[in-house]
């Protein structure tokens, strides 16, 4: 739909991830490495699940559209499960690596806390997932045409970008919550994350009924944000501290 839509959707989909990257990750090379490795893990999980889906579609009748749609749903559920498995695998890998990093670092102790690694890993998953969702759509949004010739909604590009934004942030929050749950050996957390992921996926099946898909997904994202905040060490007390700190800073400086 032209450059305006391209940049608008790119900013919506990748703006928060980009700003998170710039302000929290880019300065520390170790975090960059963990981010990219996380993205790679997500990619491998997608590759394996898509292999399964591809074999399933090849083995069946390509003309039967309902069967293909059901196979797609099955493949996506399998992909969600595999992503969480790989997230767990990445957690184990990072735990092992942490001991090695602690040995070679200059300071005493591990250079990155598990909380930081959780956040970075989640963001890595989120960025790669967002890229895969959005890049294809973005490249087609550069041309002069817009979606709608065959009955699709003309808000396709904006809603795709909003979904991608939500998904990126959700992956980040899930990473934080997941790793914290594994640390504390609270295995029910993993089950909950898996269920929420499946719920988000099934909401996305409601597209193009955007009211029914985007609004609930954003509600879930807010809930997950709150949960991640609390599970990474935040509390209401800290927020009030922050508020009074600002107030007192303002008073002293004025």
């Amino acid at each position: 739909m032209t450059a305006a839509v391209f940049f608008g959707c790119a900013f919506i989909a990748f703006g928060p991830a980009f700003s998170l990257f710039i302000f929290t990750i880019a300065k520390d090379p170790l975090r960059v490495i963990i981010l990219i490795a996380g993205a790679f893990f997500w990619l491998v999980s997608l590759l394996l699940s898509s292999l399964v889906w591809f074999i399933a579609t090849k083995a069946t009748n390509a003309q039967d559209l309902t069967l293909q749609k059901n196979l797609l749903i099955f493949g996506s559920i399998f992909s969600v499960i595999l992503q969480e498995v790989f997230r767990f695998g990445y957690y184990r890998l990072l735990r092992k690596a942490n001991e090695g990093l602690a040995a070679i670092s200059e300071e005493d102790g591990p250079p990155l806390s598990v909380r930081e690694m959780a956040y970075v890993a989640g963001l890595g998953f989120g960025i790669m997932s967002g890229a895969f969702s959005m890049i294809n759509t973005l490249s087609d949004s550069l041309g002069p045409g817009t979606v709608g010739m065959f009955g699709d909604s003309q808000y396709y590009f904006i809603t795709s970008a909003l979904m991608t934004l939500a998904l990126t942030m959700l992956h980040t929050f899930w990473g934080v919550v997941f790793f914290e749950g594994c640390e504390r050996k609270r295995w029910w957390v993993i089950a909950v994350v898996l269920c929420v992921h499946l719920m988000v996926f099934s909401l996305s099946l409601l597209n193009p009924f955007y009211v029914g898909s985007i609004l609930p997904v954003y509600a879930i994202m807010l809930l997950m944000a709150v949960w991640a905040f609390f599970s990474s060490g935040g509390s209401l007390h800290n927020i009030t501290l922050l508020w009074t700190c600002r107030k007192s800073n303002a008073e002293t400086s004025s």
Binding site: M1, T2, A4, V5, F7, G8, C9, A10, F11, I12, G15, P16, F18, S19, L20, I22, F23, D28, S50, F54, T57, A62, Q63, L65, Q68, E107, D108, G109, P110, P111, L112, S113, R115, E116, I135, N136, T137, L138, S139, D140, L142, G143, P144, G145, T146, V147, G148, M149, D152, Q154, Y156, F157, I158, S232, G233, G234, N238, L241, L242, C245
Partner: protein, 705 residues
């Protein structure tokens, strides 16, 4: 010409994305690629391209990234107000029915071309009453008539040959013009227009609107000297050519063979030339059918050549007869001017002094009232010797019609020659000649040089229950009338060449051959007879549709090849040579590549086998280059010779899609920028206050945020 038929300007990101998507879209997997949701590619379109000559450029041009416009289906000439002034969403892409494809509408759109993004013309299967996009006076500056030669006859002052011509082919448009067929794609386009673009009760139509994008960017500009100069710029290892000269090959054959290595004047050699033209054109690129304009002429000449074969072997005439088929005559006589130039400069097997007379076959298929006309040049006939030879030729022609149903008549008034190759011969020296045509003054052809000059224009109809092979053999009325013309031509040529008078009445053209040629040249070139006469390596040029008669730039035009092989098969002899001997005949004692050309042809399939009976044809049929002398001499601004070139282009395509309103686009951009700034601010804020926010479980000696 199409240099690089791939899309240009894809970002690497796009390539990555499309390759990823393509990987998932292999074979039958139904794939929801976003591009398929947006664009519908139009496959059956024909563009109008840019041609240049010494002083002008004609044709159409689009911008390098295509021209996009909101589709508007034009209902009448008054409806033009909407795209040109009243419509609220310019620029518009105007979709015209062929009845509205007139000069006045196109000129109005040309004048307001900032509101017109392009034009799409729907070409129907039935022809309109008349349509000729050519000029009223074809080739008026490169014929023989000028201010020095018959000034009152020049520039069609006495006879306007093509009065129906609206000159659209020679106008310059700076928007693309494409043609669409009347098929499902066009229905889809019209349905898209009806669904989205109609104004409801006088209010403006709502976004999203249905739009079309046409790509036909031409590289050459201004005129031929400019584009040829740009061809020569040697910047890099791969120089970019921007245009190519139009041209192909002329086909010529003779009763007595000539040694192909001995050029120039031949002592005591007197030749009668029988000429016809091979090519035609249309407004759109390459879709030219030229049924009456060129096919009628050269099919008649081929049939006459075949009719003369037997009698000239048994009782050879005194003079030689040379059959010449000229290419590129539509574009200022490329082929005939090149042959005359070669004759003048001693590069052809004979020269102009060897020519006794010329008989040219013009448009001969539409003779109403059963008379054909013999046109001659009044200026050269003022010379008595020329006049005598012409009168003799007229007599020979008129006496040859005995027993056939029509007469040959000279026009009543003193009028110039119609546009014909004979005019180029007369430019060089006064040569006696006659042009045979079915029109007394203005053309009978209502579709001269247009895409409607097809089999229907000649009333070429077959009974509906015939298979293609049966249609090939069926002798139509058109074929019978052309056979009679061919018989007259053959007899007249034999008499003109001084042949035995007693044998004249045995000369008859074969209607079977004429109808097979008409079928192959106007209905389907991929038939069993054409397959039998062609070489095995050329059988891919035969298609289920008629060939294209546009001369083109690739020097590989289908009609030239077909006429070459047909002339060889019809006038030559089948030999016993094997295929390797056919390629190297000089090793055999009686064969000589200098005197004859040896062509290996496929032959027919015998009834009880699957292998073709291929054999070697020996014929005195040659090809000579038909590129304008202006390009040999480097005189790109020449006024004497044709200087036509065709521009090059990268790709040509068309597609339709919906366009969104500007407001929605700006809203998207605004939301994006807002999200980006907000996230930057929030992230900065949180990251600076992170130690406060996440303080309660800070592990000892962990890195600071």
């Amino acid at each position: 010409t199409c240099v690089q038929c791939l899309g240009d300007g894809n970002t690497s990101l796009q390539k990555l994305a499309t390759s990823i998507v393509f990987f998932f879209c292999l074979s039958d997997v139904s794939c929801n690629s976003v591009e398929q949701k947006i664009y519908v590619e139009l496959n059956n379109t024909v563009p109008c391209v840019r041609l240049l000559n010494a002083t002008h450029q004609i044709g159409c041009q689009s911008s390098i990234s295509g021209d996009t416009g909101v589709i508007h289906v034009l209902e009448s000439e008054e409806d033009l107000e909407w795209p040109l002034s009243k419509g609220p969403n310019p620029p518009y892409m105007v979709l015209l029915e062929s009845s509205l494809f007139t000069r006045s509408i196109m000129m109005k759109m040309k004048n307001e071309s900032n509101r017109v993004a392009g034009v799409a013309v729907v070409v129907p299967n039935t022809s309109p009453p008349e349509f000729s996009p050519h000029t009223t006076c074809p080739n008026e500056n490169t014929g023989v008539y000028s201010d020095n030669y018959g000034p009152n006859l020049a520039h069609c002052n006495t006879t306007v040959w093509n009065p129906r011509g609206n000159g659209l082919s020679y106008e310059e448009f700076d928007f693309p013009v494409f043609s669409l067929k009347e098929d499902n794609e066009t229905e889809f386009i019209k349905q898209c227009y009806l669904d989205h673009n109609r104004a409801v009760n006088g209010s403006a139509p709502q976004y999203p609107l249905c739009a079309m994008q046409l790509f036909s960017h031409m590289h050459a500009v201004t005129n031929t000297p400019t584009c040829m100069r740009r061809n020569d710029i040697n910047f890099s290892i791969n120089p970019e050519m921007v245009c190519d000269p139009l041209g192909d090959y002329n086909v010529w054959g003779s009763i007595r063979p000539y040694n192909d290595t001995v050029f120039g004047h031949k002592e005591n050699e007197s030749v009668v030339i029988a000429a016809a033209r091979l090519d035609s054109r249309a407004f759109f690129w390459e879709v030219s059918t030229g049924a009456e304009g060129s096919v009628s002429g050269f099919v008649t000449l081929l049939a006459a050549a075949q009719a003369l074969r037997e009698v000239t072997h048994e009782a050879p005439p005194t003079r030689n007869i040379l059959f010449a088929f000229f290419q590129g005559e539509t574009f200022d006589y490329i082929g005939s001017s090149r042959m005359v130039y070669d004759m003048e400069n001693g590069k052809f097997v004979i020269d102009l002094d060897n020519i006794h007379s010329v008989l040219e076959i013009g448009q001969v298929a539409l003779h109403s009232g059963n008379n054909l006309f013999l046109h001659s040049d009044p200026v050269s006939r003022r010379n008595n010797t020329v006049n005598d030879v012409v009168k003799n030729l007229v007599n020979n022609l008129q006496s040859s019609t005995a027993g056939l149903g029509f007469l040959l008549v000279e026009p009543n008034v003193s009028q110039p020659l119609p546009p014909s190759s004979l005019q180029r011969f007369l430019r060089a020296q006064p040569i006696p000649g006659i042009v045979l045509a079915d029109h007394e003054s203005a053309f009978n052809n209502r579709y001269y040089e247009s895409f409607y000059d097809n089999a229907a224009n000649l009333n070429l109809t077959y009974p509906s229950d015939l298979s293609p092979e049966e249609q090939l053999e069926f002798v139509t009325h058109t074929a019978e009338s052309l056979t009679d013309v061919a018989t007259v031509v053959a007899r007249a040529l034999y008499k003109q060449a001084g042949g035995d008078e007693s044998r004249v009445n045995t000369i008859k053209a074969d209607p079977k051959i004429v109808t097979q040629m008409l079928y192959g040249f106007l209905v389907s070139s991929n038939n069993s007879w054409f397959q039998a006469v062609m070489a095995p390596e050329l059988k891919n040029i035969l298609k289920p549709s008629p060939p294209e008669y546009y001369v083109g730039v690739a020097m590989s035009s289908t009609p030239t090849r077909l006429v070459q092989y047909l002339l060889a098969n019809l006038t030559g002899a089948a030999t016993n040579l094997t295929q390797s001997q056919c390629q190297k005949p000089d090793e055999l004692p009686n064969e000589s590549r200098q005197m004859y050309s040896y062509l290996w042809v496929q032959g027919i399939v015998p009834p009880n086998s699957t292998e073709r009976d291929s054999f070697c044809v020996r014929a005195s049929v040659r090809l000579t280059k038909a590129v304008s002398p202006a390009f040999e001499l480097g005189e790109y601004a020449s006024k004497d010779y044709s200087t036509w070139t065709e521009s090059r282009w990268k790709f040509i395509k068309a597609r339709i899609f919906l366009v969104a309103s500007r407001d929605l686009e700006m809203l998207t951009l605004g939301v994006g920028v807002a999200v980006l700034f907000t996230s930057l601010l929030v992230t900065y804020f949180i990251s600076t206050k992170a130690d406060v926010l996440f303080s309660s479980t800070r592990e000892p000696a962990s890195a600071a945020y």
